[in-house]
Point group: C2
Chain length 789, copies 2
Amino acid sequence: MTVSKKYLAAALCVNGAVALFPDCVNGPLKNETICDVKASPLDRAKSLVSLYTLEEKINATSSGSPGVERLGIPPYQWWSEGLHGIAGPYTNFSDEGDYSYSTSFPQPILMGAAFDDQLITDVATVISTEARAFNNANRTGLDFWTPNINPFKDPRWGRGQETPGEDPYHLASYVRALIAGLQGSPDDQYKRVVATCKHFVGYDMENWNGNFRYQFDAQISQQDLVEYYMPPFKSCARDSNVGAFMCSYNAVNGVPTCADPYLLQTILREHWGWTDEEQWVTSDCDSIQNIYLPHQWASTREQAVADALIAGTDLDCGTYMQTHLPGAFAQGIVNETVLDQALVRQYSSLVRLGYFDAPEDQPYRQLDFTAVATNASQQLALKAAVEGIVLLKNDGVLPLTLTPTTSLALIGDWANATTDLLGNYAGVPTYLHSPLYAAQQLNLTINYARSVSGHSDPTTNSWLDVLPAATASDVILYVGGINNDVEAEETDRVSLTWSGPQLDIITQLAALGKPMIVVAMGAGQLDCNPIVSNPNISALLWAGYPGQAGGDAIMHILTGKAAPAGRLPLTQYPASYAGEVPMTDMALRPGAQSPGRTYKWYNGSAVFEFGMGMHYTNFSAEVASQMDAEYSIAKLVRGCNETYRDLCRFTASPLRVEVRNTGNRTSDYVALAFVTGTFGPAPYPKKALVAYERLHGIPGGEMRTARLNVTLGSLARVDERGDTVLYPGEYRVLVDTQPLAEVGFRLTGEQVVLDEWPQPPRNRTGRGVSGFEGYFAAGYGSGQEVVAE
Amino acid sequence: MTVSKKYLAAALCVNGAVALFPDCVNGPLKNETICDVKASPLDRAKSLVSLYTLEEKINATSSGSPGVERLGIPPYQWWSEGLHGIAGPYTNFSDEGDYSYSTSFPQPILMGAAFDDQLITDVATVISTEARAFNNANRTGLDFWTPNINPFKDPRWGRGQETPGEDPYHLASYVRALIAGLQGSPDDQYKRVVATCKHFVGYDMENWNGNFRYQFDAQISQQDLVEYYMPPFKSCARDSNVGAFMCSYNAVNGVPTCADPYLLQTILREHWGWTDEEQWVTSDCDSIQNIYLPHQWASTREQAVADALIAGTDLDCGTYMQTHLPGAFAQGIVNETVLDQALVRQYSSLVRLGYFDAPEDQPYRQLDFTAVATNASQQLALKAAVEGIVLLKNDGVLPLTLTPTTSLALIGDWANATTDLLGNYAGVPTYLHSPLYAAQQLNLTINYARSVSGHSDPTTNSWLDVLPAATASDVILYVGGINNDVEAEETDRVSLTWSGPQLDIITQLAALGKPMIVVAMGAGQLDCNPIVSNPNISALLWAGYPGQAGGDAIMHILTGKAAPAGRLPLTQYPASYAGEVPMTDMALRPGAQSPGRTYKWYNGSAVFEFGMGMHYTNFSAEVASQMDAEYSIAKLVRGCNETYRDLCRFTASPLRVEVRNTGNRTSDYVALAFVTGTFGPAPYPKKALVAYERLHGIPGGEMRTARLNVTLGSLARVDERGDTVLYPGEYRVLVDTQPLAEVGFRLTGEQVVLDEWPQPPRNRTGRGVSGFEGYFAAGYGSGQEVVAE
């Protein structure tokens, strides 16, 4: 979805009256099953839908559902956003006072760097709590179109900031923690809110070289699909009971995802058992229209809406179904059963949200603004930013030793950043603490010079203050990088370098020979080699989009009030990478036109590897669990009672790793466990993340134990059919990126398929749209050779 | 230059105090030569510069010149903009009342379509008049960094809107007319304002596939350079006495233009005789910094500013010279003579603007707000838009026959466009008359539905009103296309298609079978084939960015109050073109990786050709001049007394073409003369524009005579060395794109070089910047093969 500023303003203006709840006490439905709290959600929803006329049903397919006045069903807006705090075009903040702000957490890319699942659950719990408070005030909905859980595969992707990173195991774990916080326990009578896993599937490009997300046909092998693109969605659907999915703009292997029964029915619902009556799929906005143009998959508009509905898209972000379903019914290409099914799913979901039930019986309905932006929530926003920040270089200057006579130069485009701290899909934060603000809270002399040098202003008018500020200071702090001007929805990056002007300033400052720290902001990594290799630059941190307390978090780390323990949740590639692989290439393994993708397959030298992150202290680690030298695959599988065998534990109890802080400073430590080895067919990935745990506050000299839950699925690999297979062979588990400990073992016996992947039907071809043959073909799309000078 | 919104706001805030004038009556300089109105501008400037200390001189290299307080020289801001009305970050509009607005004309791309040089002079005269009024109120400067006269070679270029089109002859003629209006006559004692021809040279790409304008090295053959990229600049420098030039961000053949003495000295000053003491070169903002990074041409920052100053860049948009010239002087790599020369040029220019002279002697200094946004200026803005609009398809529905009972559906993203009408580099207009506003002034029923469907909002929420509005109407008018969201500074387009959603709505509307008109907005052409080939769409117009009166102009044309006579000033390529040639390819002729560029060389089929434009009537034409069958080249050259032989007339008096309106409706007619034939070496261009004249208001049945001034230079071709050569051979002059008349002749005898092109020095190589080797190489830059799936 795009939410342009223009559009946002318009939406907020017309947004005065958000949906009220139906009245099951005195309203027209009071005696219907929909109002019977003892009936099942399915029966209640069915009873309501049975009262609708066809026209009313069709109108209810739109995300801006008009309701049915004669039945006392008020309009309902299905589209709310909650990526890192409540937000979106239909969340209505008041101008001042109560409900004029909420808690704004860091972007997921930085929260991903924390590798702390409990943190994610805590953050999501705050978001769902604040959502309920706003909903009770008629200021937002109950359905949140978050998380964006497409793996951040290509460093240029403008929306990578919305994701926790590039690793599918990490994403699967993260999203499980997130959904627990957003929705609550599946056993609860009422859901906190409904989360929506998006964008299903293969969406990770906005606009590369003439290829738009609206028309892109992602060619993905079954192996890559299952190994890389699917795991976060499997986690959502199969393992986390998420309430909703969103299909994507792109097509996969020829079929627009919102019109693809293989994806929406065979995989999502049947293979993953996502069949609760309250689980529904929405289109992206307006991806159903895109099935017609520019995808040209459906030959008519009526066919497009019929294809989408029949494939399993239950809700239309837009009005295309509303407009063209009447024609589709007239043509007899869709029937009321499938429409009823979509609506039953929608209303079952609302039943589970307590939408029809008496507020006095629902704790969430009692929440008001006192539950928003509490002190605890503010502290959590700060904690999330602190936990995510990654230390990439440190010659010992950090943590800074500051005295009241220390003067600090604070320089760079981001030095006084405010809204830039938030990234996209942000609501109104409680406050915006820039690095400058945070520095000013310290007992120091601050010499600030912005030195605008980003792409948005190529003049150097503001540079005149830079050298005087630096010269007058003892320590130089440069805070720069990129922002949503260059990485955003509809905007992929085209370069992985720091801008020439920023590097110019950085190197001028470094030449002064003073202690100097660079903080790199933004999600997509910039090739930091010039900073790493400059001996005059003492330290480098990456701080993503750290949210409302971002400046505080940076200063806490720099001054040692907090210790850095974040890990890069993505690979920092050299700048040349942007010229080595097209964004349209979906393959993970290296090939003729690609050096490979992610830390698992990239065959070049990363500037910083996935999982990299330094500390203010040193750690040692030891594998404390007694491991066998060999394990029988047959026995491993036989001993498992899980419905899905990939979830079976490898060992009865988690792998215990004893981590010791061998230095002086108290610090968190993220225990990352990778598996590597020669098992299954070549080529082999370099390694694969199989478990992680963040240990908190380990004092110097003390030891803590990480409990790493390795599953058979984590040890398995995916074959060319997409089957998940546990292979015999030599395995090694490595603790940390520069391993502090490792343990090896052998799996023996025959290979076993843990999960058999349903194969896609053959010969799925679109029907074309007369008059537009080839018109929307991307400039550098499929098969065509690209010219360059 | 980029002027981001953020930056603009900041600039306007600090903008309260614009420079006052020096006081030559009572100030410290009153007895110096600078204040002696009888002395020459050169002597006056020299006397002032001789009073400056080295530090004061260095500070005066910045566009935000701080002045010299001890001498009573106030700060001066060299950067004002006047592309289509006064504008820019340093033009300070008041919030209300006087000086809160000015006249906002159409973007040059639409004014170019008028092919009316007198119109351009008239428009520029209004701009310079309004500039003086604002300057007298200390609200803008006297130096305007306009025009952008790079030919609009690639349809994707985001700044093509700022140019009059793709043809170098047209641009050369247009810019001569423009400068006359901006500056006044070269013989005037005082210049109206100073114009700045930019961006010299080879700049026509913002950001293509990893190639940024700041670092792009344009590889251009001498033939292409002289034939295509140089003519508008030659016209500025040699033939129009323009006061200033701006060098560009890019490099040409290895050398950043602002550091290239071959371009700035050998070509610009020596070859073109641009040697008046008051003529100066400014850098783009901040292209001098870019010489260091990312170009890595100069090995140090000091070398970068020295290179620029020595090459002939006299002013720095930015502060890089200010900051690094002291170091350069300390290193002895630049001397005060070259700095003095730059400053003498600057101050001579200000002398010619009357900056030091008594206001009472200067009529321009008497202008106030009564000279701004006069009725005549408003009418001229409307006229300019009307003259530019191009009719591309008409089945007879236009002009519309409207009665008070007619209902008109007005639909599309642009239907109620306001600021979109202006395009970039716009000031505050007097008003903004959208198409909807203009339609509402008619005695009609208007059914309006915006139907947002651009890239900025993918939802179809606003589509629900579209079909009801259209169904309720007799006639459907769709106004859509692109805007500055997709074509802008720093943003090149990646697709030449109408968006899928827009085409979806257009074709739904067309299917209603009512009279339907589509108006395409924006500068870069969209492939209109789906509209042209749709028999249910009655008419198609292109209206560019039509300015403050844009809606009025469109309605005047549609209703027949005015007749369309604009001509496309650029080729409308098929959508596939974007995949056929990289933006970085500077060659004009077709080659292995290019189907050729512009109407002269493109070897595919254009959707609409350069010069295309229909009327509401029919015209016939006849060449009335008596032409010989043969002309001796030797005799033609011998008979010419011009200093520059390419300016020699081909025939003693202009070619007369009698144009007759054979229909009923009064209409303008643009007489376009192209030359074609087989002369000089193959390959031959298809044809080349050699003259044009717009005839005004020809009543039905009447005849007017166009006088087309064909020069030897227009008939000549450019060889591989860059020499302009008049070749023997067969020539034909064609009147109009589908020729209404033509005349043939032969040139005989030996070929003659009309202009011998100075060859560039060999082995010009940069010095590199240690630490960044290869770091800034573009992803798909020089030599590297591009991968694609």
